[in-house]
């Protein structure tokens, strides 16, 4: 495969911009010849971590918009932060201290999330954690399972 410098540059720019070109495709084209370290695939628990951070932030926004909900919602946000800290430890990434990046919009968008929206997001997040639990290696099955169960109880608490 012959690549002009121009194509090569464009491809690299796409990679840098977060395009979904897999490392193997690039390696097959010989583009990574001078970079022997391929990008590792994302950890299977990464989506579970992303949702934990998004949900914690969504609760924070809901409480800001309606302080009367604080007593009900803050404990749930704390659960998500505990999940995020443990998931980050297991995955081996630095736990983000603030809000999640803007590239990962929280359910419901910019507006403060209603309790019904939060409940829907908890149920969706429970499914993500359940799927991760079913396919996880033994050492991670309990972690993902407890997070799925915790999210299910959140949905129940928001009924």
């Amino acid at each position: 495969m012959v690549l002009t410098d121009r194509v090569k540059r464009r491809q690299l720019i796409r990679v840098a911009a977060g395009a979904t070109l897999s490392a193997t495709t690039l390696a097959g084209c010989g583009l990574l010849d001078d970079d022997p370290e391929p990008v590792p695939p994302p950890d299977a628990l990464q989506p579970v971590l992303d949702e934990a951070l998004q949900l914690a932030a969504a609760y924070d926004r809901a409480v800001l918009a309606e302080p009367g909900l604080a007593k009900r919602l803050q404990p749930l946000a704390e659960d998500h932060r505990a999940h995020a800290a443990e998931l980050a430890r297991v995955i081996g990434v630095t736990p983000p201290s603030g809000a999640p990046s803007s590239s990962a919009p929280a359910p419901g968008g910019d507006a403060a999330d209603s309790v019904a929206t939060l409940r829907k997001a908890e149920l969706a997040a429970m499914k993500t954690a359940s799927a991760a639990c079913r396919t996880a290696p033994a050492a991670r099955a309990g972690l993902a399972g407890s997070i799925a169960a915790s999210r299910a109880t959140h949905a129940e608490a928001l009924r």
Partner: protein
């Protein structure tokens, strides 16, 4: 995995017993409906475990005729507290099956863990026990 399934079976048997005795202290249709549905669910889990263990050729010890309750049941608050303890205990027993099992066994254990955790939350709400949720059901 047999060891964890046997522990889950013992926990389900204990739950069926506990729901049988705590029912008399409950009041209100909400309490009673929850207790009835929980007991039926636990009987279903128990029966499924018995067949699975038989397929695995693991023999379970016969369930004891009676159980010692962790505390004396005198009123509704005690009955709700016992129901919470029972469901928390079930969540722990089923969580232990997760790393031991794969495929259908793990999926069953996960559903049972989620169900027990949700029931524990419902009992906490019925008993006005806060917080109603926890970060790590099954590991407490």
């Amino acid at each position: 995995m047999n060891e964890q399934l046997l522990a889950a079976l013992a926990a389900e048997e204990a739950a069926i017993y506990a729901y049988g005795v705590l029912g008399v202290k409950l009041t209100g249709e909400g309490d009673l409906a929850e207790a009835r549905s929980a007991e039926a669910a636990h009987r279903g889990r128990r029966d499924a475990l018995v067949s699975r263990l038989s397929a695995l050729k693991a023999s379970a010890a016969p369930a004891p005729a009676g159980y010692e309750l962790p505390f004396e049941l005198t009123d509704r608050a005690g009955a709700v507290k016992l129901a919470i303890q029972i469901e928390d205990g079930l969540a722990q027993a089923w969580r232990a099956v997760l790393p031991a099992g794969e495929g259908a066994d793990r999926a069953t254990a996960l559903n049972a863990l989620i169900e027990a955790a949700v029931r524990a939350t419902r009992w906490r709400r019925l008993g006005e026990v806060t917080p109603v949720t926890m970060a790590w059901p099954g590991s407490a």
